[in-house]
């Protein structure tokens, strides 16, 4: 069955084109990911994992090539529509979580709903549900800077899920976690997979990519996928 939620066709991404610090982070890469699968992107630092993930996550546009997310050629969309597509379909967990330090856990989690114009009642309903699901209800009004590492991680996942996206992208989610937190993270990810999310994570941690729930591993080197 061919049901590709993510399709990358001959994508190249060059930063600082034409300048002395020009660097091609992703080189003529193609990739397909089936709906509902859990895929890991591994590779050494600087191999282009984050760049490929941001291309899929509609954070940036390719220099050449096509990015197709849920059947939509997002790389062809005007910025405004690309962002719209991103907010509807993609949850992103950043490498360092990127929670906003001065805001409460609740506000951080609800933030992605603000541009959607969703009523405050509905915002609170969804946020409270996620706070409960990720065992953060008692930290609701805490500033995120005062949270422990595990709590920050759960808050970041909750924020990525508030739009109820079909696709979840996580950039080295276990990089700063001890093994106990890593296994709790993997528990969460496994549950999300069971509920039908398509998940793509980058990692160079064998603890992550050697798990049996992983459907596919792609390895990157020098901006290209060398094995899959």
């Amino acid at each position: 069955m061919d049901n590709h939620v993510i399709e990358i066709i001959n994508v190249t991404k060059t930063y600082n084109k034409g300048k002395p610090n020009e660097v091609t982070a992703v080189k003529d890469t193609s990739l397909e990911i089936n709906e509902g699968s859990l895929v890991v992107l591994k590779g050494s630092s600087g191999s282009g994992k984050t760049t490929l993930l941001s291309l899929i996550g509609c954070q940036t546009k390719p220099t050449t090539g096509e990015v197709i997310i849920q059947g939509k050629k997002v790389s062809k969309l005007p910025e405004k529509f690309m962002n719209l597509h991103k907010r509807k379909n993609i949850g992103f967990i950043f490498q360092h979580f990127q929670l906003i330090a001065g805001m409460s856990v609740l506000d951080n989690i609800m933030l992605p709903l603000i541009p959607e114009g969703i009523s405050s009642k509905e915002r609170y309903r969804r946020a409270n549900q996620l706070l409960e699901q990720f065992n953060l209800t008692h930290r609701r009004e805490f500033k995120t800077s005062s949270l422990s590492g595990g709590e920050q991680q759960r808050a970041a996942i909750a924020r990525a899920l508030i739009n109820n996206p079909g696709i979840l992208l996580a950039d080295e989610p276990s990089a700063h976690l001890d093994s106990e937190l890593t296994s709790s993270l993997l528990d969460h990810i496994s549950r999300l997979k069971q509920s039908g999310h398509t998940i793509l994570i980058t990692s160079h941690d064998p603890d992550v990519y050697q798990k049996s729930m992983v459907d596919h591993i792609f390895e990157m080197k020098n901006g290209q996928i060398i094995s899959s």
Partner: protein
């Protein structure tokens, strides 16, 4: 005269806008030439980014260009204080050959710029840039307008001579005066009123028929709005000279189009012209939007926008009628007779 603060301001404004406009036209040309929507190559991505930037800059530029029409009017009014013989903007504008020419050009370009802005707005609502080539070609084609504006402006500014006595509105819009102002004022109010109401009923009747009849007529009717609104604007100006103005000033012999803009007449002209420009601009644009028929999804959005334009132009027309005929009604009720 060129050093008068208002003139200086306009000179800087016009020059800056022309610079921005030129920048955009240059890029518009590149986009027009290189655009290939189906390409996933580097050049196309760059152009897609560019079109976003250019459309933002040109939005700003054209918007300010439209404002310049009003600034120009204010300037002309201000300069009347320094030019001997001038009473209002008319004195300034008629002090050399370029004033009214520039004003007329600015009125035309204001409508053109407005239409371009609406088309750009429509295109930016679409995911596939359907109008990109056409709108940038149109931008290139209207480039002569700002150039002519700036040329006329500098000619106008350099030929302003405070030592020459200019004519005031009393003589320009006077029935015994020669020239276009005089002949306009001379044309009887009844003729211009009947022309004006003919056009207004034509417009409203056309709309009524277009609403009631089938598809074939719909298209023709909608397209006809474009020339009809131009006629509406022209006849509205005629009526303002020969009829409305006499009741605003309560004086048969004074037909000036400018005196009533100022504070002495409680900015009456601002309301009058505002409603006229809104009605005409929206009305013409509604007609223009009818020309967009493909792709279907764009045409659908265009029809929605067209409906809005129709509504705005209708209320604009009503506002113009109420504002324009208010002084007449008041006068008639007060005195029980016509002027």
């Amino acid at each position: 005269m060129i050093l008068h603060p208002w003139i200086l301001g306009l000179a800087v404004g016009h020059s800056t806008l022309l610079l921005l406009f030129s920048l955009c036209v240059l890029n518009a040309w590149q986009i027009f030439r290189g655009w290939d929507y189906n390409s996933t190559g580097e050049n196309q991505f760059l152009l897609e980014k560019k079109t976003y930037l250019i459309s933002s800059i040109i939005n700003f530029t054209l918007f300010v260009q439209i404002l310049m029409l009003f600034l120009f009017e204010i300037t002309a009014d201000e300069l009347a204080n320094v030019l001997p013989g001038a009473m209002c903007a008319v004195g300034t504008l008629s002090s050399n050959n370029y004033g009214f020419l520039l004003l007329n050009l600015k009125i035309v370009s204001t409508f053109v710029y407005f239409m371009w802005l609406v088309i750009n707005y429509l295109d930016n609502q679409m995911e596939t840039y359907p109008l990109v080539k056409k709108k940038y070609l149109a931008l290139i084609l209207i480039y002569p307008l700002p150039i002519m504006e700036i040329i006329l402006f500098f000619k106008f500014a350099f030929h302003l001579d405070p030592s020459v006595i200019t004519s005031c509105c009393g003589s320009v819009f006077n029935e015994s005066a020669k020239g276009i102002g005089g002949s306009l004022a001379n044309s009887s109010a009844s003729i211009s009123l009947s022309l004006f109401f003919c056009v207004a009923f034509l417009l409203l009747g056309n709309r009524y028929i277009t609403c009631r009849w089938g598809r074939g007529h719909k298209r023709l009717g909608a397209l006809l709005e474009f020339p009809f609104w131009i006629l509406f604007f022209i006849t509205a100006i005629l009526v303002t000279i020969s009829f409305i103005s006499t009741y605003v000033y309560e004086m048969v012999s004074h037909n000036c189009l400018f005196c009533f803009i100022g504070s002495q007449y409680h900015y009456y002209g601002v309301f009058l012209y505002f409603s006229l420009f809104i009605a005409t601009g929206a009305g013409m644009t509604g007609g223009l939007l009818e020309m967009i028929t493909k792709p279907a999804i764009l045409a659908k959005k265009a029809r929605l926008l067209q409906k809005k334009m129709h509504t705005v132009s209708f209320y604009g027309m009503m506002l113009f009628l109420v504002t324009g005929f208010w002084p007449f009604i008041v006068y008639y009720i007060k005195t029980g007779r016509l002027i």
